[in-house]
């Protein structure tokens, strides 16, 4: 899948909205080393139909919890190389606190809820990336109230 231009995406996301005073963004990229395995290529698989639904649900959840203006999620699929961009999350809001927090929330939920899977090509052969417990922990802290700086609505 085609690469994205973060600057262009942000320009489009906040275009025409003078209430926006803050834009927070996260970009995930491909590393050349994962769990001590050298990574030549990273192939991302997804579940068409459910992927779109899951991402929309995550963004809706963020809109319900924080007073944000808009949010964008782009996730590439197919074969990628080290240093390639994988994912982009951007959130606009009036003030920075809600934008930062909602951006982090969307990313944490995406990592544990959205149907994407990574397969690495390594010198020892192909390898499916295993889910990390730390990602579940990162997502679970959002279940409590006020886990981070910005209180949910």
């Amino acid at each position: 899948m085609e690469d994205f231009d973060a600057g262009r995406e942000i320009t489009a996301l906040r275009a025409g909205d003078a209430r926006v005073g803050a834009v927070a963004m996260f970009i995930g990229t491909v590393r050349d080393l994962n769990d001590a395995h050298a990574v030549a290529t990273l192939t991302l698989e997804h579940y068409p139909g459910m992927t779109e639904k899951a991402l929309a649900a995550i963004v809706d959840e963020a809109r319900g919890r924080w007073d944000i203006s808009d949010a964008l999620v782009i996730h590439r699929v197919g074969e990628l190389k080290p240093m390639d961009q994988i994912v982009m999350v951007a959130v606009t809001s009036a003030h920075r606190g809600e934008a930062f927090t909602a951006c982090e929330f969307i990313m944490d939920y995406l990592k544990t809820q959205a149907p994407f899977w990574k397969k690495e090509a390594t010198p020892d052969g192909p390898r499916w990336v295993e889910a990390r417990g730390t990602d579940d922990q990162a997502a679970s802290r959002w279940k409590g109230q006020g886990a981070l700086a910005s209180e949910p609505k």
């Binding site: 995930g28 579940y47 459910m50 994912v87 990592k111 994407f116 990574k118 499916w128 889910a131």
Partner: protein, 87 residues
């Protein structure tokens, strides 16, 4: 009336089962997600190994994450996959 459902296998499970999915006729005794995975595991081989109790497995019914007690009905699309690793 035949009770046909569509099964979708993703990522490691697609490779282990050698197919991206299939249409099956539900046997009368299969009414829930957990009954379905038990029934599939009884095929043996990769099915028994991947669907063994204790293996991390995620299931979506009609594109929503489901639990073991989620009902299975005619026409459903049921996807089996490992825990997700995107982002």
């Amino acid at each position: 009336m035949p009770r046909t459902i569509t099964l979708v296998y993703l990522a490691r499970l697609r490779e282990a089962f050698g197919t991206g999915g299939e249409k099956i006729e539900l046997p009368p005794e299969v009414g829930t997600v957990s009954a379905l995975t038990h029934w599939l595991a009884a095929r043996g081989g990769a099915w028994a190994a991947e669907l063994a109790p204790g293996r991390a497995l995620r299931i979506a019914v009609n594109h929503d994450l489901a639990g073991g007690e989620t009902p299975v009905a005619t026409g459903d699309e049921i996807a089996l996959f490992p825990p997700v690793t995107g982002g």
